[in-house]
Amino acid sequence: MKPLGDTLSVLAVQFALLSLMAFGGANAVVPEIHRQAVDIRHWMSDREFAALFAIAQAAPGPNFLVSTLIGWKAAGIAGALVATLGMCAPSCVLTYWISKLWDRRREAPWRVAIGAGLAPVAVGLVCSSAFVLARAADRNWRLAAVTGLCAAALSFSRISPLWCLAAAAALGFAGALA
């Protein structure tokens, strides 16, 4: 076991780099996080990694919080804190400055073209995450039906998504989705 300080600095550097590489969001760097945490640093097994990932997906809050859990597993509470900050801070500072620049040129024609041009690509990417998440989650036809029903209910009505989530969790808890 290495001293805690070493592990913390490794976490800080790793996640700060990942933060600046995470184009398209945290899910883009999950394979790299896996490689680092399981194969190179041996902080956890493959199965433990998968479980932590599922917890971060299911828990309330942004999905990048899987970084928090990797930090926790590697170096306890201090590790969780360092990994979370490392994953957020660099990209936040960058986004802040670029968005200032972006908003200052609100009326510029190039700014309008970039905004309107990027929008369909952004929507395509959200469709992609929907597809990837559904494929990972829907291991049988019952789970696929849950996904379909929730999608329909939330596309065509104004009910709160929390009802869908609560109902699905309750069904799963009762063993009806296995």
């Binding site: 969001g25 997906q57 942004p62 597993k73 969780a80 986004t95 309107a116 952004a122 395509g124």
Partner: protein, 180 residues
Amino acid sequence: MSEAPSPRQLFVTFLGIALSGFGGVLPFARRTLVERRGWIGADDFNETLALCQSLPGPNVVNLSIVVGARAAGWRGSVAAVTGLVAAPAVIVTALAMLYARFGGIAQTQGALAGLAAAAAGLVVATASRMAAPLLRRRWRLTAPFMLAAFAAVGVLQLPLPYVMAALAPASVALVWRRPG
């Protein structure tokens, strides 16, 4: 945007978004910011999200930075991102600790599986709501890029930076030549 929200309002709103965001925050962010608070218009949301997606870092974190900055400068950004991240980070760590003890139980596994399936449905609905205004107005220009991004990243799982590098300039160039 009606009246610019204060850092305090930003903190509370993003905390609410984060705490309801089971399985992902984006659906709740759009619902709250666009449909309930009206802090940002539907088109502006798509564009802002696109900007956040083309920058590195977690998308929704970037979104909170931009929305916060517009409303109240760097204080707004700090308030929004803290609301979004702090409480969920504590909760997720607590859950991982619980899971380390009780993870093997069948009911827990079942509930997690149900949650994940419903969460996927949420993202599907968000995608359809985001796509609707674009497709209604100028589908000839937008549908090809939507489909191309979906096919490349969702189906073929190509690396995102390459896909962005190929699609974004082409889409922007087309809009540039045929504005309005």
